[in-house]
Symmetry: C2
Subunit: 477 residues, 2 copies
């Protein structure tokens, strides 16, 4: 070895690279030495059980995880979500009964339900004619004579409180590539609506009109139009500034323009047809209740693959956030629902906010919504942040997913496919949590929407799922 | 002076900065010296007359140019373009007569018209019943019994060939802030259409249906709806991936969803209403014929301001490209129409292309279209290039404009306003020409659309306008 480089080393200015805690770098800085700070975190945030689970899975599993994940991702990418009709929940949703109320998120009992979910249950019971007043409804809900079950246990999804009762009309979607179906109620608009926990007569009247007039009109128009290929429509809306969760103006527009030529053909008084079209035009979130079941039947096809670490469900009930893994079907892993960081409607603030709620995070699970925020820079006017933040959110999601969509592409990222197929191993190892943008409900029953923003899911749900996966599949733990 | 820095200079590695011709930098590079190449051009591309005009204007003018331009830009930004109705050209367009045919671009005679404009004239004469066959129409057009005039001389604009005849239905727009109006035909769709020079019976039948059925339906629906605030709608479409010239899917969607609740109320056989709605849904360029007159009545309010160097008209007739300056009202400055660099439909290539044609560049003149391409990254699938190119195009346009829109904002540029108010001095001095994206017509009459792309206007039109401005306004030239 030549002596010169060694001397050069000692003569040269000293520059340090500091990993982790930035206080070390700050100290060097104060002494006049230059330090480059690297934002490093230990794997799994240093959680010993999670690290052991990661190591155990890496050391060897009873089933080939990579192969299982490739199959899960293949199924998600091959899905063909299609709107095939509108029906009444009790007629089409598996296991739906008059005494059953479906709700968003993982299982939760009446006594643990958050305010907006209780409000929506009250409204649902009044809508069904099972109670006449909010007090009567509350008593009935607490009596044990009403059963509660997650939408997700019935091939369904529901936004925010996600309340579905027997006589509500529902969209019927079929994943044409795999034959499985998904169901979702019709969107009521923003403001004072059932899904945000409101139950005033204005809310019930609207639900009744939707059941008696809007749904039959849309159902017949859809029959004239023929099935709607949601894969194609979602691909289009990502070129039109929507991300499919909290920005749905383009999607709603496409549904209107596709159905309008058929709505006008129906044998209804024209005032009723006009009211239906005016309602859709006034409700830019109408399309959300189509992206949700579209995402649901997409990821459901990837559930139950032995050895897969792909997340096939994320959902929140306002009390808990829960996930399911493909390789551990039927099991929920939960943590406390998060607090949303966002923008509030005039007169409201964080002190009024319910915690994270709703099945709409199924959009992110399937690779759109928050994962596609780079396609929807204008969404920051609704959920907060800057257009650059929206791009950063999508870029981070590539770190925790195994594939990129071949159909859902983001213009601003040179038409790169959306990050798809969340691998729980990557979430735990990197500590990068799935990005979720969401509405904010008032914490009290009966009020409604107060804002929208971004929320972080609880890290422990992902760690618990990983540990359970290792327990089942690792050769040695 | 300490001797050390001087020594350091001689000991240090030599690095050159090369301005202009890059062959000098390439030579240095070959010798192993590092050279930074700066893409420098002399002002006005070294054109002596143009430099003299720039100098003369800078040295002193009879009217305060900056003040005049501030007023021109104020009027453009204050415009309130509004759709107020649909009428028949002969009833509403100033000076419209049965023997008059309006066309796109600066004035042009039949013998100098390009193929697609001749094709559209033939179709227009057949549509009007003034000729039975293309041969008869050609003979009539050449006979001198038909008068030709630019749309722009009648408060009107027309896309591509821009042919308007007496019995065509037209949109009526009013700039509510200044009271001036603008007119434009209704959009026929893509492919075999009059504005691209096609005149087959399919084209004439469609125009007849538009006159007899579509226009009356839309006119009555618009009356029920009330005036449409185009400033608000254009602001929205820029958040939805449109730029208002060659991408109009969002704009068309908004028009459909706004009018559908009223179309359904009309006393027409429902099949006719359905056909109208289906036509709109099948034609994503329908909105173009609304952004064009919107832009026209916006910039027209800024015309005729003594001493202003703001460009208030750009237009092409397929033979020549022409501009007008606010301070030189009534005068066209022209150059040869450009060759379009773009993407072609299957079976077509540059050998089939007509030159740059149409009044649609009025959108760019008003600060949208090519100037707002950063808002519409997906447009590159239609006109070529990458999403980064689309952003670069908009960024360059800030160099030649005097203001930024307060209403038309670009999400990808952190909601920066679109570049507005083209100053001919800046165009000439920098050599940066207005960015125009446009459709491509087949060069022969009767064929139709073959592609879309970007085109550069002729530099001499801008230099000639500047020289004429200096001749009128400079104290000494």
């Amino acid at each position: 070895m030549n002596a010169k480089p060694v001397l050069a080393l000692f003569n040269a200015e000293l520059r340090a690279i500091n990993l982790g805690l930035d206080s070390f770098a700050a100290n060097l800085d104060r002494e006049g030495a230059k330090a480059i700070q690297v934002d490093w975190r230990p794997p799994a945030g240093g959680d010993v059980k999670a690290i052991a689970a990661l190591d155990a899975i890496a050391a060897g599993t009873k089933v080939d995880v990579e192969k299982a994940n490739a199959e899960a991702v293949r199924r998600i990418l091959a899905a063909e979500p299609t709107v095939i009709g509108i029906g009444v929940a009790k007629d089409v949703v598996p296991g739906m009964e008059p005494d059953l109320i479906l709700h968003a998120g993982p299982p939760v009992t009446w006594d643990r339900m958050c305010g907006p979910m209780r409000g929506a249950v009250i409204g649902g019971l009044i809508f069904e004619g099972l109670a006449k007043t909010p007090e009567e409804a509350e008593k009935l809900a607490a009596s044990g004579r009403i059963r509660f079950d997650p939408c997700h246990h019935h091939d369904a999804v529901g936004p925010m409180a996600g309340i579905m009762t027997a006589n509500m009309p529902v969209w019927i979607l079929e994943n044409k590539a795999f034959g499985n179906k998904a169901y979702c109620t019709l969107n009521e608009g923003l403001g004072k609506v059932l899904r945000y926990g409101a139950y005033s007569s204005e809310v019930i009247d609207r639900l009744t009109w939707m059941r008696d007039e809007l749904a039959p009109i849309l159902s017949k128009a859809l029959a004239l139009h023929g099935p709607i290929d949601m894969k194609s429509v979602i691909a289009q809306i990502l070129q039109m500034g929507d991300e499919g969760h909290n920005r749905n103006r383009a999607g709603t527009s496409i549904i209107i323009r596709e159905l309008a030529p058929h709505i006008v053909m129906l044998d209804y008084p024209k005032e009723k047809l006009s009211r239906a079209l005016a309602f859709l035009n006034a409700n830019d979130h109408f399309f959300l209740n189509l992206t949700m079941p579209s995402a649901k039947c997409t990821v459901d096809a990837a559930a139950g693959i032995e050895g897969s670490t792909i997340i096939t469900t994320m959902a929140r009930n306002g009390t808990e956030f829960g996930i399911k893994l493909s390789g551990l079907p039927g099991r929920w892993f939960t943590g406390p629902a998060g607090v949303i960081d966002g923008l509030y409607l005039p007169g409201f603030g964080p002190e009024h906010a319910s915690r994270d709620i709703g099945d709409s995070v199924i959009t992110e699970t399937s690779g759109i919504g928050g994962f596609a925020m780079a396609a929807a820079p204008a969404i920051v006017k609704f959920v907060g942040g800057s257009p650059k933040d929206a791009i950063d959110v999508t870029m981070r999601m590539y770190e925790i997913t195994n594939a990129e969509s071949e159909n859902y592409r983001i213009p601003a990222l040179d038409f790169r496919g959306t990050p798809t197929g969340i691998d729980v191993r990557k979430v735990v190892e990197t500590g990068i949590l799935p990005a979720i943008n969401t509405g904010i409900a008032h914490k009290d029953p009966g009020v409604g929407m107060v804002g929208a923003g971004l929320v972080k899911p609880p890290e422990n749900a992902f760690r618990d799922a990983l540990v359970a996966f290792a327990e089942k599949y690792a050769k040695r733990l």
